[in-house]
Amino acid sequence: MNTWKEQLADQIPAEMGVLIDTFEAQIELRKQGKLDEKVFAEQRLRKGAYGQRYDNGQRHDGVRTRELSYPSGELVKGPDTLWDAPGMQRIKIPYGGLTAEQLEVLSELADEYADGILHITTRQDIQLHYVHIDDTPDLMRRLAAVGITTQEACGNSVRNITACTLAGVCHDEVFDVSPYADAMMRFLLDHDDVQDFGRKFKVAFSGCAGHACGLVKMHDLGLLAQTREIDGETKRGFTVFVGGGLGTVPQQAKVLADFATEEQLLPLAQAVSRVFARLGEKKNRNRARIKFLVSKLGIDEFRREVQEELKTVPHDDRHTAYLDTLGDFAYKPAKAGMALNGTPLPDGFSDWYRTNVYHQTQSGYSTITLNTPLGDFTAMQGFQLAEIARRYVGDNIRLSVEQNVVLRWVADADLPAIYRELCEIGLGDAGAGTIVDITACPGTDTCKLGIASSRGLTAELRTRLIERINLLPDAVRELKIKVSGCFNSCGQHHVADIGFFGNSRRSGNHKMPHFQVVLGGQWQENAGSYGLAVGAVPAKHIPEVLEALTNRYVAERGNDENFQTWVKNLGRKEIKAMLQPYMKLPSFDDKPGFFSDWGDSRVYTIDDIGVGECAGEVVSLFSLEIARAESAHFEALLALDEGNYPLVDQQAYKAMVLAARALVRTKYLDVGDDYGNIVNEFRSRFYETELVYDRFAKGKFARYLFKRHDQPPTQVGEDYAHQLIDETQLFIENIHSAEQRINGVIVS
């Protein structure tokens, strides 16, 4: 076994294997210049392979902007994105749920393909940084072999579906939303109806209205667990929210449906997707999220569109099939639940117990949160953690939107022992969920859009706060801080008590890193309200600003007055006045240190900001689908080189069917995957109407498909294989030409 592909062939689910093989073929096609860079970029993003800062080949080294001469020269993996430039691999972890084995494989990948660090995102994903694009197919295969996909982790599609980390063990939940999040993830993954979005689409589930975990009101589609009495029977369902989002234009989601039953859940999500694909903005990426469509139409009209669309959604057994297996979604603790009684407690245990331990609804069990600094842990810690998990909790590992690892189903009697072991591997810090547990996006460390160093600031604040955590009043300890490197809000600064997002100001001839201060956002009630921006402060003043704010809050707050209320009562004008002394810009000569960012000794510049890939590429559905056909054709060519003629036949036929499907779907989205249906639809819609006819060859190329479809070969030899390859190429070219004639110039 010389390759991971060979070694893992039996362990990778067939559908996932095909997607990865297709992507590997697209990598080769792109290298040969046979696949458009924008189409490849969108395909790459849909596999979670993202660009990173400096991948345009330029970096300011503090003195001058220097060219980074990557060995692949001009070859790009997207617009202004050089092939050899290190990238980020985002890995979807639906509802943050991981097994010990999956954690080990993730750790192996961090060790072998990245910089040795696993980073937890605010969407319960894992990100690996500094990954080479050539390594990604094997990386994906190793994940697929343990049931993890990167499919649609980025790009204009359905991103990781998030849910409360306490789902299934929570005292407040209506019911466990995990199996529903799992079902929706499986249903929408690579679904035809989520391929033609103008922007990304984020879905979240929450088990209760009051607490924060699910954050459904800031999502494109939010599902809040509810039950109703219907015909004397208690029915499970969801309040459905739509059109929420943070970013530059934060909006609270609107209620699409007060109550959708569990049977209605997946068809409703599919209908929403179809409306978004059909009516959502495609050209202006800044207004392409579903929140803009909901605002434009109004929630009532949007709801009417969804109701109409529901009537056209084809029957699909999967809409309700998952309900039969809900009972299989049972948790298997590693040990029997047992109370914590009389065990000697290690030093530091009490502080940790107070902040990091949650008593589950199941007697004798707790959920513990590992205060994971900046969401980072090493590959070695990953292996150690998997070992600890196996012994104490089994496969009950989750990742949280606050960038922490969570272990569920810890027997209470084991808490002192597990605490000791977590301390030994550097993950035993107290303070989870408190002011020291700060959330931050990658910012200028690795993000192309980063304006200021969110992680540098977070590391600095964390260090200072930990030093005096025991001196802080409870009211301050309980505050949440969240930091974003720019206005796009990946650090979720809008829903923190104290949020910061990066920007810059000019002083003399120099730029200075700043953070806009955002106060009074609400984490509770599923991100119930967003904070107020009160002014931009030089980055190096932020620790003093934090101290001034918290001191005044403690001194002036009324009995039980929380931070949101205090901010509201104090008012923007008074807060601005409080910040004013810190907003003055020193000159470069007076304070040169203010012209460098936290954790970065270079003189600050905004010259390194690039074009982000969060929005994906605006590529037509046809371009994406025809790229799949071309990948299959490429696979056929490889098979021809290997003398594997039956495989040539299989791949070439597939390529023709996929090309036909690409054209059919421009007129009929619901054609499905059945080869017979596709060929029939192609024949009636494009061949018999002569729409696909070439000016000179007429219907000759289309007949290549019909010939192969109607008369499969009984024997496949070399001559046949060569001929089929050539015919497939001509057919694909014919489809390209026809599409341009019929639908106008491809948007690319």
Partner: protein, 199 residues
């Protein structure tokens, strides 16, 4: 066995805990980029000092990364060659060893008397679980060949042992020169005389 792994790491540990803080390494690495102090197409500096026993501060380069590294509870300079490895294992080891050694000596120059490496031993990591599973039988099969290569690099007898018993971890070795002292500059001068062709 002469298969070259996808990635190859060489780490030299410091003789003692230095007075210099990890945060002070960031400007050093940034300056190395400006002045092109070490080998490779240098890209950026990333700071992971908040992670216990982690890679510390990394100078990212196209061909290989340099880390002021805290793994295994020991501070050191860890060079991981990622790309353009020579096609022969002895050459690949020599190249990674030589670049790591050169970078470690540069770091010593930044804080003379404070940062001081023990060049008489090193950790060699084979970051490629497809070809190098960490199991005792593989080590037994490779021990003689690897000992010969590493003895040639050091120019003296060496002792070799597996760094980790855990089969999940990467295949890594600790090599120790059986010599009273190893002078890094002399070793680098000798290794630099040997040509290595990269792919």
């Amino acid at each position: 066995m002469t298969i070259v792994p996808n990635r190859l790491g060489v780490k030299f540990n410091l003789k003692r805990e230095p007075a210099i803080a990890a945060a002070d390494i960031v400007p050093i690495f940034q300056r190395w980029i400006q002045e092109h102090t070490v080998d490779g197409m240098l890209i950026d500096v990333i700071d992971y000092k908040h992670v216990p026993e982690g890679p510390g501060v990394i100078l990212i380069a196209d061909e290989g990364d340099y880390a002021y590294d805290f793994s295994d509870g020991q501070v050191g300079l860890h060079y991981i060659r990622k790309r353009n490895l020579p096609g022969i294992l002895s050459d690949a080891l020599l190249l990674a060893f030589r670049i790591a050694l050169g970078a470690a000596l540069c770091l010593e120059d930044e804080a003379p008397g404070d940062i001081e490496f023990d060049f008489s031993s090193a950790k060699i990591s084979f970051l490629d679980r497809q070809r190098y599973r960490n199991d005792p039988s593989l080590y037994a099969a490779l021990q003689d060949d690897l000992s010969a290569i590493l003895a040639e690099i050091y120019g003296c007898e060496i002792a070799l042992e597996r760094a980790y018993d855990d089969p999940r971890l990467n295949f890594a070795l600790r090599v120790s020169a059986q010599s009273s002292s190893v002078d890094g500059h002399k070793l680098l001068a000798r290794l630099s005389e040997r040509p290595v062709s990269v792919q």
